[in-house]
Every structure is written in structure tokens, then in C-alpha cells.
Symmetry: C2
Subunit: 355 residues, 2 copies
């Protein structure tokens, strides 16, 4: 039970006076097939169990060319959104007897590239990737279908790889429409990293929302260049200082929203009295914010689960027809961070908190 080092087939074989081959077959359920005696089979299984035998996965992987591991590469594992995805992948992987090697690319495409090569050398059977960069040159090698890969959260239009992401276009469209329905016409858009699908899709949804309601698009209200908190903070500061008035903010990530909140607070703006805001990504704490945050919720659980499922499919049928991408619907969760401009401003629109 408590052993100094992992025990091997050979040790069991020696102890029983059998060959390694026989032990292997007795343990892998191949006993019948290879005519191992009933009694021998029992003895092997008993001893193996009592010794707590577990096959060396390195040897197994080498021999079988199946390492029972998959790789997961994400920009920042401490971002709850990505952590949520990783968790679902991890849980599902465990159900399917896979282990996961996790790489944090730190929002760097160079590290991402390195990590992919590293995972390959580890013999992973597949990779779930939340890509960070604006280009996909390093991903074309995976189109071939050796080493299966599924993209999560982001995708690249030209790239022939399966992906799972939120329907960011409609999410942003719905959020923008909601703001407009509440009387907002000048809505700032706090962008994430340009060239990434979430950013582009959300931006288009935002623009479409304005256009559909006959509101001209003011490019001066569209600003920002990263999904990080610092960007939300600085961009909001700048926007508030600019001459362009606006009554609402559409923040393209949870981190951007946090940064915006800080800037608003510093500049003396109250939410939602002086400024309305909608963010992306639902989180457990959002109902408890000073202004309970109205958000476009992404189905991160489903994204993670589906990403793994699609990867597993590709691992099992590498030559099956390539699935396209899947866009999962978002949900607008209405809380209290959007003011209805039609109502008197002195009153909070909802919630008894801070009443």
C-alpha cells in the first residue's frame, strides 16, 4: 500500500513466478483471449490490487501512443471566466479517464506557441486552446488533423478548426438594445483586444444595435485595446475627460468592467444614477456590487463541456468530417446597473440594497 516507488508488472511477475506478459494480460482483461488460466488470472489480480498497482503512464503512452492526457492552454487561469472553462474540461476529462496538462499563456502568443510545442512533446492526444493572439499562423499546422485541437472562447474566421464560443454578436446586440430601450442613445463601447473574435463580434453587435434603432455610430465612443482591467480603467478615465458625453457603458469583459467601475468611482460618478453599465461574463459577486451588475452571461460551463466533448470526438475519429464551430447563446441578466432615463433620476430603479 505505502510504497517507496511505483510498483511494476515485473515485480508482480517475479513475486508470482510468472512472466511480465502474462501479468499484463491478466490485468488488462485479455486473459480469455490469450488463454491465461482462471486461477493464474485471479492470483495476479489479487496481488496487483493488494500492491496498489497502477501502470506507468509514461511507458503506456510510449507503447500505445495514447498518453491519456490532453492539453489546455488559456490566457490567464486566475480569470474566473477561463478558470470556469478549465474546470469543466478537467471534470469531463476525468470522467473519460484523461488527465490534463494546463499551460497559462499569460496573454502572450509567444508563450502560447511554446506551450503548444511542449504539449506535443508530451504526447497529448488533443488540445483545448483559448487563443490569445490576433493571428492564427501557428495554428494552421493543426488543421491537418494529426493532434486534434478545439478552440474555445475565440475562433479565427479563416481557420479550419472546430470551436466553441458564445454568440457574442447577439449578446452585444441584446445588451445594446436593452440600453437603448432604457433611453440611452450615447453609449460608450469599451473594447478588448482588436482582431479577436469576441471583440469583433461584440463590436459588431453593438454597432448593429445602434444602427437598428437609427442611432449614428460615434467612433469617438469606441475605445480600448485589451481585455484587462487596466484598459477598462484608463479608457474610462480618458472617455470621461473627453468632450463627448455619454450615459452608458458597454464593457467587453468582466475585467474591463471592474476597471471602469474604479474610474467611475474615482471621478465621482455613481452607478447607475450618473452612468449605466453592462458587462460580459456573469460572476457570483455581481449581484452584490454597489450597483448590481447587469451582464451578458456567457455559458462558460457549456463552453468547457462542449469543447472537451468535441475534442474527444476528434480524438476518437480523427478522420471524421471536421465539425464547424458552435456558437452558444448568451443570456442578458438584468440587475441594477442600468438606469431607465425615462424615470426620475433621484430614485434607484430597483433593489432595496442601499435603499
Amino acid at each position: 500500500m505505502t510504497h517507496r516507488q511505483s510498483i511494476t508488472l515485473k515485480q508482480i511477475a517475479d513475486q508470482l513466478g510468472l512472466s511480465v506478459t502474462t501479468v499484463s494480460r491478466a490485468l488488462s482483461g485479455q486473459a480469455r483471449r490469450y488463454r491465461i488460466g482462471r486461477e493464474t488470472e485471479q492470483r495476479v489480480q489479487q496481488l496487483a490490487k493488494s500492491l496498489g498497482f497502477a501502470p506507468n503512464r509514461l511507458a503506456l503512452g510510449l507503447r500505445l501512443k495514447r498518453s491519456s492526457t490532453i492539453g489546455v492552454v488559456i490566457p490567464d487561469i486566475s480569470n474566473p471566466f477561463f478558470a470556469g472553462i478549465v474546470r469543466q474540461v478537467a471534470l469531463r476529462a476525468r470522467d473519460s479517464h484523461y488527465s490534463i496538462i494546463v499551460c497559462d499563456s499569460q496573454d502572450s502568443q509567444d508563450i502560447e506557441i511554446e506551450s503548444l510545442a511542449l504539449l506535443r512533446s508530451h504526447g497529448v492526444e488533443g488540445i483545448v486552446l483559448c487563443p490569445v493572439g490576433q493571428s492564427a499562423d501557428h495554428l494552421v499546422q493543426f488543421e491537418g488533423g494529426d493532434l486534434p485541437m478545439v478552440l474555445a472562447d475565440r475562433y479565427f474566421p479563416g481557420l479550419q478548426l472546430p470551436y466553441v464560443a458564445s454568440d457574442n454578436f447577439h449578446g452585444a446586440l441584446e445588451a445594446t438594445s436593452y440600453l437603448i430601450a432604457n433611453g440611452h442613445r450615447r453609449i460608450a463601447c469599451l473594447r478588448g483586444l482588436a482582431g479577436t473574435s469576441p471583440n469583433e463580434d461584440r463590436l459588431h453587435g453593438y454597432q448593429e444595435g445602434l444602427t437598428r434603432h437609427g442611432i449614428p455610430i460615434d467612433n469617438g465612443l469606441i475605445a480600448g485595446d485589451s481585455f484587462l482591467q487596466q484598459n477598462g480603467y484608463l479608457t474610462t478615465k480618458l472617455l470621461l475627460k473627453s468632450a463627448r458625453p455619454f450615459t452608458a457603458i458597454l464593457a467587453m469583459s468582466n475585467l474591463i468592467a471592474l476597471g471602469a467601475l474604479r474610474a467611475l468611482s474615482e471621478e465621482g460618478f455613481r452607478t447607475p444614477e450618473d452612468m449605466s453599465i453592462i458587462s460580459f461574463d456573469d460572476q457570483p459577486y455581481l449581484p452584490h456590487l454597489a450597483a448590481p451588475m447587469t451582464v451578458v452571461s456567457q455559458p462558460s460551463v457549456e463552453i468547457g463541456q462542449l469543447a472537451f466533448k468535441m475534442l474527444l470526438d476528434r480524438i476518437h475519429q480523427p478522420d471524421g468530417v471536421l465539425q464547424g464551430g458552435v456558437l452558444l447563446p448568451t443570456t442578458l441578466i438584468v440587475r441594477g446597473s442600468v438606469r431607465n432615463l425615462a424615470e426620475p433620476s433621484s430614485e434607484r430603479t430597483q433593489r432595496h440594497v442601499c435603499g
Copy 2:
């Protein structure tokens, strides 16, 4: 560059008309030692580079008995506190050319046990474990020193394993003292899982804080049995319904605090006007809560970094003297969730939000 499957030493050897041995030596910097010709060395290195050769880690691990991987086992990777630890371990591991296999034990000791066995079979060189259970029977096998292990966040008093955790006793003591200094005498304590070091240490700190100020300990104000949100919610509900009055809450985890907040909100209690609260674990969103949360901040970055460093030390010197545990100091971050009972109750103690 773009290859269908990983390339091997043999392929390079064949292409150059050399033996695998020579190629291996030319690539591992052993050329001089084994008298490989200067020119041969160059040719091998060039070709390897141009082919993007990376040694098969499975074979490498098998041969060298060094897999260049470590295992990380945590209760819930989507909990920002643990995600933060994992991230630091991942970053440091990468610096040291280690990959990490992550297991989410889902707060289940059975899964934890399974995961440890799995990691062993993967040939990991060491394990960082945030244990979940109340007993450490399954960990004594690691005292021996084969398979190095470092505990993070929690430890077990009797167990001879190095650990890194917060100084929860003093953290709770400081928080309790702060509450008392603000005039609170009846302070509810929302516990986590009994038998775990964070819970016990925080509880003792709480009790010590009361005792030092001559306040009797009321066991009716100490309740709860898990670190999860649901527990915070239910326990708070129960406590509020009970006959025992209290003016402040000490929540023993970020999740518990979130649950408490929800209960308070539902029961019509305002924070901090009607109820003060202090939680553990600092998070980016806490300043933006309805009542910006005063917390005992844990040095999760340092915990993760140090855990990896200690593990690396043990990997390099398995027979070195066993380090004891390390307790890292916490920081009380004062925000606005504690009301000073000496001040008039109608006014918010600070902040202009919701003014």
C-alpha cells in the same frame, strides 16, 4: 516545421546517415564528452532545429525517471483563491521547465486520493496539494520522501510534510480585534469545514480576540460547516432567525461571505448600517461591492510561488532535511463593511457610493 507527427531522433539519424546515439549526444551538449566531430555536431543541430525537433517527453521520462512534470491538486479551480495559487505554481513551473498536471478534487477526499495515485502513475516528480479532508491518513505515504509533496493553504498538525499557508490565527485575531475596536461585542463566526487548519486556526484567532478583550465566547454565535457559498447563506439565515443578536459577522471564506451577503440582503439587512462583516481572501471586485468589503487578505501569490519553490527544493534534494511549515502573514484591508458603533448609525462611515 509543420509535421504530421512529432519527429524523432531516428528520423534525424536516418536523414544524416548517423546513429541515434550520435544524434542524441550532439543535441544534448554531450558532443565533446563523447568525441562527436565538430562538423557532425553542427549538421545534427541544424537539421534538428529546422525540423523543430523536441524530444518525446514520455520516452525521456521513462528513461531518465524524470518526467519534468509536477502535479497540482486543488479543491476547486474555479475558486479565485485556488486559481491564484495554481497560476503562480504554473508560472514558476514553466520558468523551471516543468509542466503541470492539474486535478480538481471537487472538495472530495476520495477524488483527492484517486488523483494522487493517478499523478504517481504519471511519474510526476512532485505534488503541490491543497488538501480537502479532515484526515491525513492517505498522506502519510508521502512522509517517506519518495515522491516529494508540499501542502498549500492547509496543513495537518501531526503530519511530517512541508507546507505553506496563511497565518490564519493572527489574521482572524486582527480582524476580530478590529471589529471590537469598532464597538462590536457580539460577533457571529461563520465557520468553514471543521477539522481543517484554516478553519481551526481562524476560529482560535476569533476566540483569542474575544478573550483578550474580555468578551465571553458565545458558542451560539459560532456556526457553519463548509467553506462554500451555500453554507454562508444558510447559516446566516439561521443565525438571523435565532434569538441571539449580533452586530457583526466574521466569514471564514470569500464564498461564505458571498452567501452571507445574499442572506442579509434577503432579510433586509443593510451593510454596514445594520450588520458589519469581514471576510477572508482579497479579490479585485471587493472594493466595488455595495459595502466595499473589509477583508483579511491572504498572500495567495506568495503561497503559490513558495509552494513551488519548496517543492523544487525537495525534488533536487530529496534527502535534505525536511523543512517545516511556513505561515505567511495576512493583511487586514480596511474598506467599508464595518460600521463603527460609536458613530451615529444613519450615516455611512465612508464612501460616496450610494451616497
